[in-house]
């Protein structure tokens, strides 16, 4: 199935008729059920199949390969028979006539390294010199399979296809040489880019064999020979990302850096309040600004807003600066949405706490929580709060579009080029196939660049002006026109039995859901939202209930790195730390005791199922043994149990499963006499299954520690009178070097389990570990994020 987050959110083509692009009014609850069914549909086990593919010089693949190239498509075939007719290639490996190996990176590069790691697997299995491989970025095309770079799933979902693509090509090249030399196929080997027949000492380069190999039948998977891991030269080894040299010399091209001949620069004034409309505009002063060419009114979205443009007035000019200056002179009169203009964060906070102080929708139920909680003597209740957040990637969104004769080509830093095709297609009234989406490097994404509203704007403006147009978001545009990480309220109750183990747990949360982006007015989380940390609690607790309370959205809600795990993990693990204190033990002892014996947790016994990033629990079980292991190892590496807490120094720890990975992180904090917090040390132990590029995995966990520090210590977006208060890094700070962890020790568990996820799971553990460390250092419990709002001394 298609998705816009990992394998989770519905892509426009899976939505009820008319919903795509918001061209018609949203459908009713009945078809939302259909949408939800599509969201939750279990994916069949994927099988990989490979076939020869022709290169159309003018279209698909034509930009990546020279004429005469031999291209193998590694296809992902759903186990579902109906889908067999529409096999979707997921990756392409090609050989140019001169033997140059070209590997197409079909996922977006936003810093995780997937543009390197996936092609690297192909090169490994093919057995060629990686330094001579050319990596080409794919355009958006559904024939690649999902290109949606989200949900920490690039390696997880595509590593098998990459192995198979490489092994298939190697097989065919070896066969081609055997045929040419008239020797048994089994005697020919391809090693490090050269094909050899040892007995006769004959050798051939790949270029000499390509024309023959392309005529051979594609082997079945059973015929393939895969390299044993002991022979790997690249996988598991130190390899630099392909763009590294370009990055340090300023030659790497991001979306903000794109240009086309004759291009106009656009700066757009958008509605200050969600879902509002322009009443009137006066651009007379704007047009007097030197360099300004014209203004264009952009229509607003229709609900559900999905990834549509918000509407507004664009100022088009000869330079970015002129467009920004002209925009300041616009006089706009908005008809503000009466339902949203009253949105204010302090009042809303009361509202969502009101929601979690009442019974909500039960998303998991085991035993009898109410009875058990009434019966225990040692118990605790606590409320936790986490504010709205903006993604604030270092590169603000930007897009270049060129519309001509009913077709449009775009260049943009986007996480999902196929979603661009859908969104831009709907905005312009053209078919998705008539939208060519080139993916630049992304200057950070974190989920923001999954939502291509900014590309739709550029496309609409190019159509309106007849010229190539570049839309440049300023930082203010970025902070005030985000798809925000939801504000959340959590209400917890917990009881401890006589043996010092968690006996009863109530876990209730309310947050404006991502569901509202796809269904106007939706107030409850999708299964994937409640599945991120609310119902997936792995403790061996006999009585527990998870509930989701309703919450209305007044801004666009999106997904930000680690999504609902962030607030759910903050509440759950902070609460466990508090319960441990009540129990007279520490988090690690109480956690391990409450976790119970090593086992695979089955949520179906509790009337729910694991969302599990849309993966089956057979493939990716909820394994408490792996969670126990990372916590024990992290406690040992950090010296958690022996640390002398107090007098402004403390250590905190948290262990959490997310994105199918098992992570434990310990944080040491120092709190000075003025309440200033520094973080000298972070220790992370990560069991993410098998690993392709250990250095990039370490980098993801180092980065997650910093991202998690921003989120825990200082990140907060608020609204007043429907408007976002913050605008730039002075009032929406993110962690600077001094505020970030000084040392980050990352241990990757040596695992033979399936590749899980690396990009996100390092984030959720940070806030509870920092909060616990601050308690250990100061005796102050922080139940509300960001921590900077709490006076620590």
């Amino acid at each position: 199935m298609k998705c816009t987050f990992g394998t989770s959110f519905p892509a426009p083509e899976n939505l009820p008729a008319g919903a795509a692009g918001g061209i018609q009014q949203s459908s009713t609850g009945g078809s939302f059920a259909g949408l939800a069914a599509a969201v939750y549909a279990k994916r069949d086990d994927l099988k990989v199949s490979i076939e020869n593919v022709s290169v159309d010089r003018r279209g698909f693949l034509g930009t990546a390969f020279a004429a005469g190239a031999w291209v193998l498509g590694a296809n992902i075939l759903s186990g579902n028979a109906d889908a067999a007719a529409s096999w979707q290639p997921s990756v392409y490996l090609g050989f140019e006539p001169n033997g140059t190996v070209v590997i197409t990176a079909h996922r977006s590069e936003m810093g995780t390294g997937s543009r390197t790691s996936l092609p690297l697997v192909v090169a490994e299995e093919l057995d060629v010199d990686w330094t001579k491989v050319r990596v080409e970025q794919a355009i958006g095309d559904k024939r690649y399979g999902s290109q949606n770079t989200d949900g920490s799933c690039s390696v997880r979902d595509f590593v098998d296809a990459m192995h198979q693509a490489g092994a298939t090509a190697r097989f065919m090249l070896e066969r081609a040489a055997a045929q040419k030399w008239n020797v048994p196929a089994g005697e020919v080997t391809l090693t490090n880019g050269v094909v050899l027949h040892a007995a006769s000492k004959r050798r051939a380069t790949l270029g000499e064999l390509v024309s023959v190999a392309a005529t051979l039948p594609v082997p079945k998977r059973e015929e393939l020979r895969f390299k044993p891991p002991s022979e790997y030269r690249y996988i598991g080894k130190q390899v630099a990302i392909v763009d590294q040299h370009k990055i340090v010399t300023g030659a790497a091209i991001f979306g903000q850096d794109m240009r086309r001949p004759g291009m106009l620069y656009a700066s757009i004034e958008r509605p200050p309040v969600y879902d509002s409309r322009l009443r009137s505009s006066d651009d007379s002063e704007t047009l007097k600004v030197k360099g300004v060419r014209q203004t264009v009114q952009i229509p607003g979205f229709k609900q559900p807003h999905m990834f549509q443009q918000t509407g507004g007035v664009a100022v088009l000019a000869d330079s970015t600066w002129a467009a920004m200056q002209g925009r300041k002179k616009l006089k706009l009169d908005w008809e503000l949405n009466p339902e949203h203009v009253s949105y204010s964060s302090p009042a809303y906070k009361q509202e969502i706490f009101g929601s979690v102080h009442k019974p909500g929708k039960v998303v998991r139920n085991r035993g009898n929580f109410d009875g058990a909680f009434a019966g225990v003597s040692r118990k605790l209740e606590a409320d936790y709060y986490a504010p709205m957040l903006a993604h604030a990637p270092m590169e603000p969104p930007a897009a270049v579009a060129e519309y001509k004769d009913g077709k449009v080509e775009v260049w943009a830093p986007v996480q999902d080029p196929q979603s661009v095709q859908q969104t831009v297609g709907a905005a312009l009234g053209v078919k998705p196939e008539d939208v060519t989406c080139n993916v630049t490097l992304l200057g950070g994404g974190f989920g923001r660049k999954s939502k291509p509203d900014f590309v739709a704007e550029a496309a609409l403006l190019s159509k309106a002006t007849g010229k190539p147009v570049k839309v440049v978001f300023s930082r203010e545009d970025d902070i005030r026109n985000d798809f925000y990480h939801a504000v959340a309220a959590m209400h917890m109750k917990g009881g401890i039995d006589a043996a010092g183990k968690l006996d009863s747990l109530l876990f209730r949360s309310a947050f404006p859901p991502i569901a509202s982006t796809f269904q106007a007015g939706a107030e409850y989380g999708l299964d994937l939202e409640t599945g991120m940390g609310l119902n997936e609690v792995l403790f061996d607790v006999p009585h527990m209930r998870s509930e989701n309370g309703p919450a209305k959205n007044h801004v666009r809600i999106g997904w930000l790195r680690a999504v609902c795990h962030n607030f759910h993990a903050f509440a759950l693990h902070s609460f466990m730390d508090e319960l441990a204190q009540l129990n007279g033990t520490n988090y690690v002892d109480f956690f391990l005791k409450s976790l119970g014996p090593d086992r695979h947790v089955d949520l179906t016994k509790d009337g729910t199922k694991a969302w599990n990033n849309d993966k089956s629990v057979d493939e990716f079980p909820l394994d408490t043994g792996r969670l126990r292991h990372v916590l024990e190892e992290c406690a040992a590496r950090s010296g958690y149990a022996k640390y002398t807490n107090g007098k402004g120094r403390g250590i905190g720890i948290a262990a959490h499963r997310s994105f199918l990975s098992y992570i434990a992180t310990a944080v040491e904090v120092h709190v000075d006499a003025k309440g200033g917090v520094t973080i000298p040390n972070v220790w992370t132990v990560a069991d993410i299954g098998k690993v392709v590029m250990p250095d990039r995995v370490r980098a993801q966990f180092e980065g997650a520690a910093v991202f998690g520090t921003s989120l825990a210590m200082m990140g907060e977006i608020t609204a007043e009178a429907g408007r976002i208060v913050q605008s730039n890094f002075h009032n929406y700070p993110v962690a600077r070097m001094k505020e970030s962890p000084r040392k980050i020790d990352v241990k990757i568990v040596d695992s033979k389990e399936r590749h899980a996820g690396a990009g996100e799971p390092g984030v959720p553990v940070m806030a509870p570990a920092i909060a616990a460390a601050i308690f250990a250092a100061t005796g102050k419990r922080v139940r509300e994020l960001p921590i900077k709002r709490t006076k620590l001394v």
């Binding site: 810093g111 010399t249 991001f254």
Partner: protein, 154 residues
């Protein structure tokens, strides 16, 4: 008319002197290694050298740059062999890479004046450069590495 030198080449600018250097470099000279991040001098992505000093080009007007020498990342080393660039590659600092040109320009200016910086001096010098991917520990290590590799050469 404003005359400036960019990466050793003389340039003449006829327009409004209030235009920030950033947009002149990016939109007119197509030197896009200097990045736009905030427009308020808060993130350091646009850092260039103005007569050898690290400045934020987004809040440096062309009139204030008149008669001065500007070096951008493209001019730091034509082949990417500045000790900072080498160290950045050696330690695989970059994740998305967007902020790294500004980080490198800031670090290069620090090392030019302080060839053997202390950890505290590095923290201080790099305080204005944000990295949302969170590569700070490697940036810090790369500056020490570059300092070592340069062997105190001023």
């Amino acid at each position: 008319m404003i005359e400036i030198s960019v990466n050793g080449k003389g340039r003449k600018f006829e327009g409004d002197g209030d235009v920030p250097l950033l947009w002149y470099l990016r939109d007119e000279l197509e030197l896009t290694g200097t990045k736009f991040g905030c427009g308020m001098g808060l993130c350091g992505a646009c850092t260039v050298h103005l007569n050898g000093e690290a400045v934020r080009s987004c809040v440096t007007t062309l009139s204030s740059a008149a008669g001065k020498k500007i070096t951008t990342i493209e001019g730091l080393s034509p082949t990417g062999t500045h000790p900072c660039q080498v160290a950045w590659e050696k330690l695989n600092v970059a994740q998305c890479g967007y902020c790294q040109c500004g980080q490198i320009m800031q670090a290069a200016a620090l090392l030019a004046k302080t060839p053997r910086p202390t950890a505290a001096q590095i923290d201080e010098a790099m305080d204005g450069n944000l990295c949302r991917c969170g590569t700070y520990t490697r940036i810090h290590a790369a500056i020490l590495e570059a300092s070592k590799a340069a062997g105190g050469v001023k």
